[in-house]
Amino acid sequence: AQSVAQPEDQVNVAEGNPLTVKCTYSVSGNPYLFWYVQYPNRGLQFLLKYITGDNLVKGSYGFEAEFNKSQTSFHLKKPSALVSDSALYFCAVRDMWGNTPLVFGKGTRLSVIA
């Protein structure tokens, strides 16, 4: 069965500093990987995805993520954090054949402090 682990419930970072939100996954075969963000009282918003090709994926709002097959990781990064980045971040995975549903991690709350 496929799964996603987000080992940190909470990440705190100072505004202007780089941020990393960690994600590791388990899936049969090759993965399709996604990051979503959830702001208070709003639906999940798509940030970026890895399907194939370059391991470094760039997405919305200056976020990027690096696919590392050997470490089965897909960490979310941003070079310079903004206070407005404070939200709940979810990593998700499905297998490339589409035979299984999208599986989400439990989320990591990012707090950017001015």
């Binding site: 009282n41 639906g43 999940l44 918003q45 798509f46 490339m96 549903p101 999208l102 991690g105």
Partner: protein
């Protein structure tokens, strides 16, 4: 353009009652998904429609849960004989056909069973 909409935004009901939750997907999206999100958890897959048919209902927790999408657009999630444990935020998402396409989420319906 209009995103995914869900009604009602909040629903409070009594144990044992029947509820219906509605989802209006993005126009033209053939795939529609229902998820359930409990506090402190990521979205948990319930059911997936491709067009009018349920392609995967493996996430429905029991036979009290049922969903329909009769015309391939609007979907209704139906819960019979509600229990307190059904309290959660029910999320709907839609996407274009293709397993590598990102899903667009609605704001959710918060269901509270008293």
């Amino acid at each position: 353009g209009a995103g995914v909409s869900q009604t009602p935004s909040n629903k409070v009901t009594e144990k044992g009652k029947y509820v219906e939750l509605r989802c209006d997907p993005i126009s033209g999206h053939t795939a529609l998904y229902w998820y359930r999100q409990s506090l402190g958890q990521g979205p948990e897959f319930l059911i997936y429609f491709q067009g009018t048919g349920a392609a995967d209902d493996s996430g429905l927790p029991n036979d009290r849960f049922f969903a329909v999408r009769p015309e391939g657009s609007v979907s209704t999630l139906k819960i019979q004989r509600t229990e307190r444990g059904d309290s959660a935020v029910y999320l709907c998402a839609s996407s274009s056909a293709g397993v590598n396409n990102e899903q667009f989420f609605g704001p959710g319906t918060r269901l509270t069973v008293l």
